[in-house]
């Protein structure tokens, strides 16, 4: 199971057949294990890490830190769930330290992101305050470096 997950995490497009060869179980077993993990929600989705800048598309990302004032009987989960419903919000995390929630927001321009935060997030009743950090450049995303990868320069034949 863990073996299959590790392979899929590094390349979700890999053929079932290839996974079968690498793990030493049959193709049918691999397929059924994957299906089972999809059903259980262990595999949430298959996604692609894209360098949008290289593709010529402009996106603006911002990290928003939020201070939350909890009201009676509703916890962090409730507010997080509300915030998560906005499609502009790419991630929501409960964090330790000076703030309570950390969001990643994506928009087409700084203005769009700024207005989204001001109008949709800051206005929520439980939100006491927000701090917006605009992302200037992404160097590593989901474990993948986005600048030129290092290669080991090995001799072609060695003992």
């Amino acid at each position: 199971m863990k073996e299959i997950l590790e392979i899929l995490e590094s390349n979700p497009r890999i053929a079932t057949k290839e996974i079968a060869t690498m793990t030493g179980i049959t193709e049918a077993q691999v397929a059924s294990k994957i299906k089972e993990m999809e059903k259980k929600g262990i595999i949430r989705k298959y996604k692609t890490v894209i360098d949008w800048e290289k593709a010529g598309e402009e996106y603006v990302y911002a990290i928003i830190e939020i201070k939350v004032a909890l009201r009676s009987r509703t916890g962090y989960d409730a507010i997080a769930e509300r915030i998560a419903k906005f499609p502009e919000v790419r991630s929501v995390r409960l964090i330790s330290g000076g703030h309570d929630l950390s969001l990643t927001v994506r928009g087409r321009s700084m203005k769009e992101v700024a207005f989204f935060v001001a109008e949709k997030i800051a206005t929520l009743e439980q939100v006491q305050g927000t701090v917006t950090h605009f992302v200037l450049r992404t160097y590593k995303e989901d474990g993948d470096v986005l600048f030129e990868k290092e290669r080991s320069e090995r001799l072609a034949v060695s003992p």
């Binding site: 073996e3 590790e6 690498m22 793990t23 080991s152 090995r154 001799l155 034949v157 060695s158 003992p159």
Partner: protein, 404 residues
Amino acid sequence: MSYSRKSAQSALLSPREARPEKFVAEHVRQIPPSGIRKFFDLVLEMEGVISLGVGEPDFVTPWHIREACIYSLEKGTTSYTSNYGLLELRELISKCYRKEQGVDYDPKSEVLVTTGVSEAADLAFRAVIDPGDEVIVPEPCYVSYKPSVSLAGGTPIPVPTYQKNEFRVTAEQIEKNITKKTKAIVLSYPNNPTGAVMRKKDLEDIADVVIENDLVVISDEVYGKLTYDGAHTCFSSLTGMRERSIILNGFSKSHAMTGLRLGYAVGSEPLIAAMTKIHQYAMLCAPVTAQMGGIEALKNGDSEVQKMTREYDRRRRLVVSGLNKMGLDCFEPMGAFYAFPSIKSTGLTSGEFAERLLKEHKVAVVPGDVFGECGEGYLRCSYATSREQLVEALSRIEAFLDSL
């Protein structure tokens, strides 16, 4: 005195003319050059070659280890260390053997840090061999044992191993080759080039022969961390073998640190002391930057090693099943990162196969006979290369087979 062309010419022809080649000692002249060299030169001339000929990991040294090396340079840690190596590193090595193999080595006198495992092997041979001593070397094996034994004044006695025995050497085979002159046995499992591993029982049988004939074992276990079917058994962990063996190991393969040149030997005090005597004159100490990296590797490197091993295991299955499917009979290697398929069905020799595969389909492999006569009819294919490259290489090999 004026210069004259005539006298210059006569000087050239005079018996005093220097011929540097004649200064080369006879016993060095007799050592054949490594068969790998020829392929290396061929590959250099070509473009677009996928190489399965590489005896080192394709991973770059894990970042935390490189950072430790860089940091040590920033701090100015650039001086000699003790001949034995940094004590902290030796303590970590000793701890490792106690924890993983249950063998105790005193870090002060029974661990020697060397400039790569190759140096450790050379020291071990020179420390135990007297002129004329015979050393049993099971083949196929790493290319340096036989020349190193010869350079140390000994006589290497190659013992062939076979696919039907999964390239394990047996106690009987060793026993058959023992003479009055036999001094030592070389073991190198997990094996380069076959990927063979020894089972504990096989080693115990050999241990009996070792005691009976009063021999010493030099066991190169540099691939010890790369096993795919249970943990590796260190030879000195067997009853009575601690005092009768020198274990060679290093960081090149397990931690992808080949170019940093860091190895070590562990053994009982008199043997390590003898090796250190040679090491202190020939090498003084292993590079300190590499030693600092080694400390970090042993302290915090386990998870990276496991990650790399798991990836090798996937590639191993990919390559072995691919080779077998296309009709090249390949036994399942359980260690290191090599597959050793038989090409006997093609009717070509290892050399012919490898050369044509390289020239016609641009895949570099190493002919098996480079690692000993009994390696003829086989190829060493390293799977320490990305999966994409392996898949492409396999399809090229298949195309080559179809063209025969």
